[in-house]
């Protein structure tokens, strides 16, 4: 261990900075959580106070549960997020493997073409996408969302994963070839386990925007049976009256599944780093 790390003052400063950052980052979440358990009056009178016996109220959660089919919305959001992430990781990793492993004409151009999506926001093409979905009859299906999010996530996934895959030693892949592995087996059994931290990074990057997105669910799948959680919560935000109890409760509940997914991926991330994979 070097001296800078073992110095107690440095350690204290470092931890101080990290704690401060954590507090700032968690503060809005904390405010949402405590206020979701308070009565409407108390939310506005003392927004920072903790709920006590007098102000405690579950009215927000009751409204959410009564109005609309929140379990279904949850399910929809979950299917869309997990489905999109699966496709992004699968196809992104495959494209990245091809780009990093094989020499072929136009490799460089193909890489640039795939990375182009990072620079051009997919929302520019919303009208065209909607026309396409209408033509294929995918409007108001979860598939419409999954396909669009997959397209949206692929460029960054290919970009990040191909960089990581270039670092996997050629000798290792060649050892696999001599040991009788097919190219698919090399990809699934050797390369993927080694780039797991990068996969987790890509998953985390893509998960939050997909979960929180309002734009595409509103345009492509606004039907009651395909509503996502973010879209479903919008019923409580009106032009003139907003049911803050319900909004805060819905948001509090929406945080949970993402939190679970994040914990899963970040564990992978840490395990990947600590396993000391490549020599």
């Amino acid at each position: 261990m070097n001296t800078a790390r073992s110095n107690p003052i440095n350690a204290a400063l470092m931890h101080g900075a990290l704690i401060l950052y954590t507090l700032i980052a968690l503060f809005p979440v904390f405010v949402i959580l405590i206020n979701s358990f308070k009565s409407r009056k108390k939310i506005f009178r003392e927004p920072l106070a903790l709920p006590d016996a007098e102000s405690f109220s579950l009215v927000g959660y009751q409204t959410v549960m009564k109005q609309g089919d929140f379990i279904l919305y949850f399910q929809n959001s979950f299917i869309v997020t997990v489905g999109s992430l699966t496709l992004i990781l699968l196809f992104g990793a495959m494209a990245a493997f091809a780009l990093s492993e094989y020499r072929f004409r136009g490799n460089m151009l193909m890489g640039l073409y795939l990375a182009l999506g990072i620079m051009i926001p997919i929302r520019i093409g919303t009208v065209a996408i909607l026309e396409m979905m209408v033509a294929t009859g995918l409007v108001n299906t979860l598939w419409a969302l999954i396909l669009v999010y997959t397209a949206q996530g692929l460029p960054l996934a290919v970009f990040i994963l191909s960089e990581f895959m270039r670092q996997v030693s050629d000798d290792l892949k060649n050892a696999g070839r001599i040991d009788g592995l097919s190219e698919y087996a090399i990809f699934f059994k050797l390369v993927l386990p080694l780039v797991r931290p990068a996969m987790a990074t890509v998953a985390v990057f893509n998960m939050i925007p997909i979960w929180n997105d309002l734009w595409f669910p509103l345009i492509l799948a606004p039907a009651e049976e395909t509503k996502t959680l973010t879209l479903g919560s919008q019923v409580f935000i009106g032009q003139f009256v907003t049911d803050w109890n319900a909004v805060l409760s819905a948001l509090s509940m929406a945080i949970l599944p993402v939190l679970v997914l994040y914990v899963i991926f970040s564990r992978q991330l840490i395990r990947g780093i600590t396993s000391g994979a490549v020599k």
Partner: protein, 349 residues
């Protein structure tokens, strides 16, 4: 077990770079052949072509009388040991060693027996459940060897397997690999840039330079009769002394009026390269040859004198009991140890 034949095997990259010029070699069954040369000489490319990891542009490669040019690496019945070991980091030692067998559909019992046997030979019995990251360099090297021998292949390929080890371990592993290869009697091709490894391990050495085969021979042949100045300079440490000598009326002159007491070879050119191994030269003499010693290197077992002979750099190796000082020293160049090379082409005369 198998013999390996390379018949005018050649490698040209799409950008036109000729990595390996047509190369014909026959490796008899059970021999260990070392490919040696400086970096970028094409030795690794040639090995990878034998392994099937690199396409062969032209020519025929046979392993055990069958042409295998178009076969996948997995179907050539070979095993390879890589420079950085290339162990599967997410598998235990036992799984690493058994993986090739598992992919070929061997039964669990058979894999277990073979892995245990290999672990016993390589003293890895206590480490079978560990991950590669928990092993030292030498142990990883052994696991890589184990992975090769459990497969019971026709041909071993080694790609600079010792270059990541420290000097002491390298000497030890060198002997272990050679002993193991002799015991198993498997034909082997071994790539290295280290001429000591080449000399000590090889049944035969192939010296490569710039994608061309410079010389093929036993270590003694290569050392005693180098085919070119390149081989003479590459094999042996310190390398052979090579001096430009002028020929006039059949007399060889080094410069500064130092005449060599030998008849000049019959050549059309008016100069020739004269070579002497540092250990072939003797200290002492009649004073007609004077070496101006500038530096003495103490190596324990012997001593190296570096200086100038007739104005050209010259090194001399003497035993630890011989006495020598700086300044002019008489030396004797034995007539039967002289080498002549063509001054431009560098080929042996």
């Amino acid at each position: 077990m198998a013999q390996v034949t390379l018949d005018r095997v050649r490698k040209t990259y799409p950008n036109g770079h000729e990595a390996v010029h047509p190369c014909s070699v026959e490796i008899p069954d059970g021999e260990l052949v070392v490919l040696v040369g400086p970096s970028g000489c094409g030795k690794s490319t040639l090995l990878r072509m034998i392994a099937g990891l690199e396409d062969i542009t032209d020519g025929a490669l046979s392993i055990g009388r069958e042409v295998v040019n178009d076969r996948d690496p997995a179907d050539r019945n070979i095993a390879m040991v890589f420079q950085n070991y290339a162990l599967y980091p997410h598998m235990s030692v036992a799984k690493n060693m058994g993986y090739g067998l598992k992919n070929r559909g061997a039964s669990k019992a058979e894999i277990d027996t073979k892995v245990q046997e290999a672990a016993r030979i390589l003293n890895l019995g206590d480490y079978l459940d560990r991950r590669p990251s928990q092993l030292s360099g030498g142990q990883r090297q052994r696991v890589a060897m184990g992975r090769a021998i459990v497969r019971d292949p026709e041909l071993f390929l080694f790609d600079e397997p010792l270059s990541n080890l420290d000097a002491k371990l390298r000497n030890q592993m060198r002997i272990e690999i050679r002993a193991l290869q002799q015991r198993l009697g498997v034909t082997s091709v071994y790539v290295t840039h280290d001429q000591v490894e080449a000399m000590t391990m090889a049944d035969r050495i192939i010296v490569l330079n710039g994608g061309r085969v410079e010389q093929i021979g036993t270590p003694t042949e290569i050392y005693e009769h180098p085919a070119s100045t390149f081989v003479a300079g590459f094999m042996g440490a310190p390398p052979m002394n090579l001096m430009q000598a002028h020929i006039a009326d059949g007399v060889l002159t080094l410069g500064e009026e130092t005449h060599l007491p030998f008849a000049a070879p019959a050549v059309a050119t008016d100069s020739v390269l004269v070579g002497f191994r540092p250990e072939d030269v003797r200290l002492g003499g009649d004073g007609s040859m004077m070496l101006h010693v500038e530096i003495i290197e103490e190596l324990g077992a012997h001593r190296l004198l570096h200086g100038k002979l007739g104005g050209q750099p010259f090194s001399l190796s003497i035993g630890k009991d011989e006495v020598a000082g700086l300044g002019a020293q008489p030396i004797t160049l034995p007539r039967d140890r002289i080498h002549f090379f063509h001054p431009e082409r560098g080929t042996r005369i």
